[in-house]
């Protein structure tokens, strides 16, 4: 990034909206704003689309995780006569980055183009979730193709993976549940479905006779409601962590960071249930974009470009431009005028949305007036601890964690691996069918929310050692390892591994200058999309996203190769 190619100056130089960073939130905002007729300039300092949601080759991923920790090159010293310039800083979202290569052939030239590794993994989409709806609404679904995640499992320290009985057919086929357990679980699902049907009916016509979950139950903790059903602990755990995708231990109220209410729990089950069977080719509830999650921001960006948005990659911004004369400040803009690009060019806009890692140093703030400080409020870094952290891990493995299954989700509920395990650990295995790695390998993504780096990484390492054969030199193998030799022998071998901790930054509306959200610790994009929608409404004044039906009719029947094409 230091040696920028010579860019011609941008023309025009004034826009309604400038967006910096091409992560999922920024891309949705850009596509939405462009299709409503707003003129948008969309910049990204990186040479690729996606920012923190990108999918990269192994060397690119490595350098992104590391380089982002460094400060950007100092901005060219320039002072404009008309504006007050505030220098910008970049903070890294990543800490404790640790990358290990166990098989150097993996970095060979022949492999390098075959990897599309996600920065924000593990992540999937629910077939019925809001991100899919947005894609359909915006028409960006035409640029992405998906495939099903074949199976999901709940694991424990024994290494056994039990499939999640998430549908009627799955309950029927499940081998580990007893007959009475099947009956109880199905009865519960039926109750949820009857409740949802009744809720849907009563929204149109007030029908009181239908089966519904009592209102007082809806406000009680979901875990209590499950116990009341009554569901045995084994099934409770599957529903909470394998289907509702809860992070923290729901049985431990004090330590639980996200005690789920029944209302929210039912909503998550509803999402899961309605996801199954939404698209004819999707087997289960979950799908994953072919070529990686990086395809999603790109799809929205393409949509935005079609609608007139201008894209410039490899283009950092170095400074914000504010009105000099504080008494002349227009109330709507709060004094914000524009940005200065790394090329030195000054570009102006009404509004600005910035990548979550762009901040203003406190030294730059000191000379500003209170009103200017208020305008830049969202760029002041908050203490990371207040927003939370996510430990992420990536392993490239040879073999699969489960025979005959390529794409699978594995969840380790709290305390399932070791007694101190605070939160659920989610693992997503993806294969070459999704064009994310070479044919004989799989990519494994790990994540867990954590309070500090060490705790998070320890949890991930524990999950890794349960699923993957540890890289121990052969002469050091102890006797204890011999007894479960066959189990160990069947485990996949790790070739490459990355561990890092990502800070979570929430999106924030700040009048003329807003900050987009970083990827969160969830499995889906739901919260991210929600925050993008909210930010858009605040920016545009409660205007609906993708109001006009833009999906073009190119429903051409292609020969199907097992991919899932999402269509409205």
């Amino acid at each position: 990034m230091s040696d920028l190619p010579p860019y011609p100056p941008l023309d025009p130089t004034t826009y309604d909206l400038i967006i910096v960073g091409t992560g999922v939130s920024e891309s949705i905002l850009s596509a939405a704003a462009s299709s409503s007729g707003t003129s948008v300039l969309h910049l990204d300092p990186n040479p690729f689309y996606g920012s923190h949601s990108a999918s990269l080759s192994l060397p690119d991923l490595t350098s992104f995780l590391h380089s982002n920790s460094l400060s950007p090159p100092p901005p060219p010293p320039s002072d404009t006569p008309d504006f007050l310039s505030v220098d910008l800083a970049t903070r890294s979202l990543y800490s404790s980055v640790e990358i290990a290569t166990f098989d150097s052939s993996i970095l060979d030239e022949r492999h390098s183009r075959k990897f599309n590794v996600d920065l924000c993994g593990p992540r999937v989409l629910f077939c019925a979730d809001e991100s899919i709806n947005l894609m359909l609404k915006s028409g960006s679904n035409n640029y992405v193709e998906f495939k099903s995640v074949d199976a999901s499992f709940v694991g424990d320290s024994s290494g056994e993976l039990r499939s999640v009985p998430d549908s009627r057919a799955a309950i029927f086929k499940d081998k580990s549940l007893g007959l009475m357990e099947k009956k109880q679980l199905m009865k519960f699902f039926k109750l949820v479905q009857a409740h949802l049907a009744a809720a849907a009916a009563s929204s149109t016509e007030s029908d009181e006779g239908a089966v519904k979950i009592a209102e007082e139950d809806m406000e009680s903790p979901f875990v209590d409601f499950l116990a009341k059903m009554p569901l045995p602990p084994k099934i409770k755990s599957i529903i909470l962590y394998g289907i509702a995708m809860v992070d923290y231990d729901q049985d431990n109220v004090e330590a639980c960071g996200d005690l789920l209410k029944t209302r929210e729990g039912i909503a998550r089950l509803a999402l899961y249930i309605t996801s199954i069977g939404r698209f004819s080719n999707a087997l289960g509830a979950l799908i994953y974009p072919i070529y990686g999650q990086g395809e999603l921001p790109q799809a929205f960006c393409r949509r935005a470009a079609v609608k007139g948005c201008i894209y410039v990659l490899r283009m950092p911004i170095t400074a914000l431009l504010l009105d000099k004369a504080s008494e002349l400040i227009v109330v709507e803009t709060g004094g914000y005028k524009g940005v200065r690009l790394a090329t030195g060019q000054e570009i102006f806009s009404q509004k600005l949305i910035l990548d979550p890692c762009i901040t203003v140093g406190s030294e730059s703030m000191s000379s500003l007036t209170d009103q200017q400080k208020e305008t830049l409020r969202v760029l002041v870094p908050k203490s990371i601890s207040s927003e939370g952290k996510i430990a992420r891990g990536i392993c490239i493995i040879r073999g699969s964690v489960k025979a005959d299954i390529s794409n699978a989700l594995v969840v380790y509920p709290p305390k399932s691996l070791f007694p101190e395990q605070l939160a659920a650990i989610r693992v997503l295995q993806l294969g070459s069918g999704l064009a994310v790695c070479p044919a004989d390998m799989h990519v494994l993504y790990f994540s867990t929310v954590c309070e500090n780096d060490d705790q998070g990484k320890a949890a991930l390492l524990s999950a890794m050692s349960t699923l993957i054969k540890p890289q121990v030199p052969e002469n050091l193998q102890s006797d204890s390892a011999v007894e479960n030799d066959t189990a160990e022998a069947a485990k996949p071998v790790v070739l490459w591994r990355a561990l890092y901790v990502q800070a979570m930054v929430k999106g924030e509306f700040g009048g003329s200058i807003s900050s987009a959200a970083s990827p969160d610790g969830n499995l889906s994009y739901n919260e991210l999309v929600e925050s993008a929608v909210k930010l858009y409404e605040q920016l545009m004044g409660s205007e609906e996203l993708f109001k006009e039906e833009t999906s073009p009719d190119n429903t051409t029947e292609e020969e199907n190769d097992g991919g899932v094409e999402i269509e409205a």
Partner: protein, 679 residues
């Protein structure tokens, strides 16, 4: 395809469909003109294609295409490539028609017709079916066609069974898949294919269907399969001899002439005709019982060429019950002698069940017949009264032991796995409370267990079964009659399950020389069952029950007195089975509902005057044609009986007109409605 609500059409949709209809009518009339003029040009055939792609239900168009294909083929039969092109085009048309309407009978039939021409490749058919069956997994047209293709391609039944695994796995609410599974398994088990032994495979199938039932007990398809499995567990393919009269090692006393009722001992029999019925009761309908398949070895003269008759509806040559009449009074005097009679059933092959299985285990039984020379005769024509005067039967139960039916274990049935499978199911379903189908299945399982297990603990189960059916009657009024019938069957099985139980229902009739009477009155029976254990009965009281029909009684060939008063008999056709009872002299059908309903639903099930060719020649029929036409169902029953006493009061049909009719039809009648007739 399932569970989609019907929506009302919008005006613009209605307009569109009207336009479509007009276009279709145009096509249709053009096509019909072509068809009538036998025009098979390319344009004409293309027109039919167009029609069928819009409306695959146009059956005439499919037939027209068949004619067109035949016409084209007749010209070019020597060229296989051309034939293939023609047939492939037909397959293509069918495929696009099916895309339009997946449930078009005509399209599927046309496809079968094309394939049966033999020239086309069938390899694509399974692939096409897979696609169609993915779209609608339960479509029975596709499943039917699938069986056709499988047969054509000689695809293995094991592969097809795996296919049902997949289909059931992805959605077990699929009758078609379960049904196909039962068809395939039946075939594989019957031909003992590798790895398909009933004692291994059936328990596995129970496991599979348990998963379906416990996952969603509201889904019916699993229950149906369970019922089929239970049937496979309980019923044996090969027919077995269940019981006989006289029974093995029994000693019977035979008298010349007939007592008016029955005899004071259970084992005594008399008849004017000088012959006694030899009754064989099989567990399923069989054919082929004859003097060569069943041999009799005895000194009783004149029985060399016995005639075996099925006790069943006219013209049917299969029946559970077969009877032959053995003479014991022949020209030369043989009174006061004892004769051993040896009966060998299945002496030579030929007894075959209606399903085509051979009676394989030949079985031999022996009894002794003591022929007496005198008859203790009292008032020959005295009236038989069912009113009081019954004493508890006091004979030693050894008298009854001789009546015990054949043990099914005689037939070397591999019953161990069956008992285990059913016992496991019973334990499981006792845990499925409160559901109707769960209760019903448990009752069926308990009944099955009673049928195939030893006698020891039967009583307990019968009481549980009776309770379950009582619950069901209260819970599910719409199927009340079914539960009632099953309750009756269980109750009769309980009554006949042991000699102790049975002797509690045996009485002596004081007014009738202490003859033995089986009284099953006041039990609210709606159906007759367990007749195989009651072959010895000569006097039977079924009064004050809820019987609709006498079906089943035909096996009781010794029956001479029958009380059916205070039941729910609605017509004489419901008494049709009594025609087989040659010994019946006394019949009480008073206080029933005969004649109450002008439309009799059972009428269609039995012989009617329209189907009867002997009708016009009949003497009585020609004497009083109007009455016979009016009471034809009574006529057919009474004509074949040899009644001396009949009670008909308390029925709508009773009256002077009917009485005069009865006197004509039953000339030997002495007592009618309690009054002695003047002869």
């Amino acid at each position: 395809m399932h569970g989609r609500p019907r929506k009302a059409y919008k005006p613009e949709e209605e307009a569109a469909s009207a336009a479509k209809a007009a276009k279709l009518r145009g096509l249709q009339s053009q096509f019909m003109a072509n068809h009538h003029n036998k025009i098979y040009t390319k344009e004409a055939v293309d027109l039919s294609t167009k029609l069928l792609e819009i409306n695959p239900e146009a059956y005439t168009a499919w037939n027209y295409r068949k004619l067109a294909v035949e016409d084209k083929l007749s010209g070019i039969e020597s060229d296989p490539d051309l034939v293939k092109t023609i047939l492939d085009e037909e397959l293509r048309v069918v495929e696009s028609a099916l895309k339009q309407n997946f449930k078009s009978y005509g399209a599927w039939h046309h496809r079968k017709w094309v394939l049966s021409k033999g020239n086309s490749s069938v390899g694509n058919e399974l692939r096409l079916l897979d696609n169609f069956q993915k779209l609608d997994t339960r479509n029975f047209h596709a499943w039917n066609y699938r069986r056709f293709v499988v047969e054509l391609t000689k695809r293995s039944e094991q592969d097809e069974l795996e296919y049902t695994d997949d289909m059931i796995g992805s959605d077990f609410s699929n009758y078609s898949a379960w049904h196909n599974r039962s068809v395939l398994l039946s075939s594989l088990l019957a031909r003992k294919a590798d790895g398909f032994l009933p004692n291994k495979k059936i328990p596995d199938e129970y496991k599979l269907v348990q998963n379906a039932i416990f996952t969603d007990e509201d889904d019916q398809s699993g229950w149906f399969y369970h019922l089929w499995l239970l049937d496979q567990t309980v019923n044996v393919e090969t027919p077995l001899l269940t019981s006989s009269w006289p029974s093995h090692s029994s000693r019977i006393s035979l008298y010349a002439g007939c007592s008016k009722g029955s005899f004071s001992k259970l084992t005594t029999f008399g008849s004017e005709s000088g012959s006694f019925p030899l009754v064989l009761y099989f567990d399923q309908a069989v054919g082929g019982v004859s003097s060569s398949t069943v041999t009799i070895d005895s000194e009783l003269k004149g029985n060399e060429d016995l005639v075996w008759e099925p006790v069943s509806k006219k013209n049917s040559q299969v029946s559970c019950v077969w009877v032959a009449r053995l003479k014991y009074i022949s020209s030369e005097p043989c009174f006061g002698k004892e004769y051993k009679v040896k009966v060998r059933v299945g002496n030579s092959p030929g007894i075959v069940s209606s399903r085509g299985c051979n009676f394989s285990a030949s079985y031999e039984f022996v009894f002794t017949a003591h022929v007496h020379d005198t008859v203790e005769e009292s008032s020959q024509d005295g009236i038989v009264s069912w009113k009081d005067g019954f004493d508890i039967w006091d004979a030693e139960s050894k008298d009854l032991n001789a009546l015990a039916t054949l043990d099914r274990s005689n037939a070397q049935m591999d019953s161990k796995w069956r008992q285990e499978a059913i016992a496991e199911e019973i334990d499981l379903f006792r845990e499925l409370p409160d559901s109707k189908i769960g209760k019903l299945t448990l009752a069926r399982l308990l009944m099955a267990k009673a049928m195939i297990s030893d006698d020891a603990v039967k009583g307990v189960h019968y009481n549980e079964i009776l309770e379950l059916y009582k619950d069901l009657m209260a819970l599910d009024s719409s199927h009340y009659q079914y539960y009632k019938d099953e309750h009756s069957v269980a109750l009769l099985r309980k009554v006949t399950s042991s000699t102790e139980d049975l002797s509690g229902h045996l009485f002596r009739c004081r007014n009738m020389n202490n003859s033995v009477c089986l009284r099953l009155n006041n039990l609210s029976l709606s159906r007759i069952a367990s007749v195989e254990k009651l072959l010895f009965v000569q006097m039977l009281d079924l009064s004050h029950n809820e019987l609709h029909s006498t079906e089943g009684l035909e096996a009781m060939q010794l029956l001479s007195c029958l009380n059916l008063s205070h039941n729910r008999i609605r017509s004489f056709s419901s008494l049709d089975s009594l025609r087989h009872l040659k010994q019946l002299r006394v019949l009480d059908v008073s206080h029933n509902h005969i004649g109450e309903h002008s439309v009799d639903t059972t009428r269609y099930l039995c012989s009617s005057p329209l189907s009867n060719s002997e009708w016009p020649q009949d003497e009585v029929g020609s004497q009083m044609p109007s009455l016979v036409t009016k009471y034809w169902d009574a006529y057919f029953v009474l004509r074949d009986l040899n009644l001396k006493q009949l009670d008909i009061t308390g029925n709508v049909i009773a009256g002077d007109e009917f009485s005069s009719f009865v006197l004509q039809v039953a000339p030997k009648l002495v007592w009618l409605d309690g009054k002695k007739l003047e002869i």
